[in-house]
């Protein structure tokens, strides 16, 4: 069964790379967007296992996004993705998924 991961980041180029990286592993399905409204709509429409917050999301937007996503999916795991690429991605996802 695939783990469905929603990535939100403002930089289009990084979002494209994240989409490629997340979908390169058969055990993950990545959905990558730049806009918070898109992210909320996706979360409303389908199951999401993990949300990665990427670059450029300011403090206020992050707070509002978390409130909206958690209202839709209480208990949803939302973590910060650092580095914008493959270096830390696997470790971040594995750590988040194995946290009790």
């Amino acid at each position: 069964m695939q783990t469905i991961i929603l990535y939100i980041g403002r930089d289009t180029e990084i979002t494209v790379v994240m989409n490629r990286l997340l979908n390169a592993r058969p055990e993950w399905k990545g959905i990558c967007v730049c806009l918070d409204e898109e992210a909320v709509a996706i979360c409303k429409a389908q199951h999401i296992d993990l949300v990665l917050l990427g670059n450029g999301i300011d403090h206020e937007a992050e707070k509002a996004l978390k409130v909206s996503l958690l209202e839709l999916r209480p208990g949803l795991k939302i973590i910060q993705h650092y580095g914008g690429g493959s270096g830390l991605l696997y470790g971040e996802i594995m750590t988040a998924l194995h946290q009790v």
Partner: protein
């Protein structure tokens, strides 16, 4: 009471891609060890050996302070901020990825391998404007001395980053002893032995070992071999 951790060189993650022989002190790329995720804000310490002319094509980064120290050879760097530079052994490069930056890194020499340390620290501020800097260091100033090469301040010695971190490099004669004062009570020190053998607070560490110490205000240091080289990374232990 001080606490410490010793990461022996042969316990690091290892990935040999042919053109790139990489050792990871902390989890990186496909190397995942939940016990080796970070030392405070120090998240990545990669020890890379890159074949002549080879390297990493254009790829993005964000929200990370990235420090590159060539140990031998030279790196050709190009980035989306318009920087194009060669960084040689004896120099240091720093990049604050902030809101996002793309860059490429290649071995600038065809006939010589490039040995480098690449270090990533979590920033103390997210989404800063990306910036790049490099500096030539006075290599002689680190003989029997911890030469500061990085700090949080543009007015202090070395390059600066968005984090309350200080890096120092030293190269020591056998038998030389000194103490290093940790800069902040919230910081610890991760010492990476580049070459030779040293004793830190009574613990022996050899080439490419990492020794982390915290809950103390200083470390005592002794070089056991001639030319022992050490990189000290004085970093906040709490993630921001």
């Amino acid at each position: 009471m001080s606490q410490f951790i010793l990461h022996k060189s042969n316990t690091r993650g290892h990935a040999n891609h042919g053109w790139l022989n990489a050792h990871h002190s902390f989890s990186f790329a496909n190397y995942y060890n939940p016990e080796r995720m970070h030392f405070g804000v120090l998240r990545v310490l990669n020890d890379d050996l890159i074949d002549g002319g080879m390297g990493f094509g254009t790829h993005p980064h964000d929200n990370m302070e990235i420090i590159t120290i060539p140990l031998s050879g030279a790196i050709a760097h190009k980035d989306s901020m318009g920087n194009s530079a060669v960084i040689k052994s004896g120099e240091i490069q720093v990049m604050s990825a902030g809101t996002g930056v793309s860059h490429s890194e290649f071995n600038a020499l065809e006939a010589e391998k490039l040995s480098l340390l690449q270090i990533w620290l979590f920033p103390n501020k997210k989404n800063v404007t990306p910036r790049y800097d490099q500096m030539t260091l006075d290599v002689d100033a680190r003989h029997n001395n911890f030469q500061q090469i990085l700090s949080p301040s543009a007015d202090d010695a070395g390059v600066w980053i968005h984090q309350d971190a200080w890096f120092s490099l030293g190269k020591f004669d056998a038998g030389f002893e000194t103490e290093y004062q940790i800069k902040r009570s919230e910081n610890g020190v991760y010492a990476f032995v580049i070459s030779g053998e040293v004793t830190i607070n009574g613990q022996t560490a050899s080439a490419r070992d990492g020794f982390g110490i915290w809950d103390t205000d200083h470390i005592s240091f002794k070089a056991n071999t001639d030319g022992a080289e050490v990189l000290l990374m004085d970093v906040p232990m709490e993630l921001n």
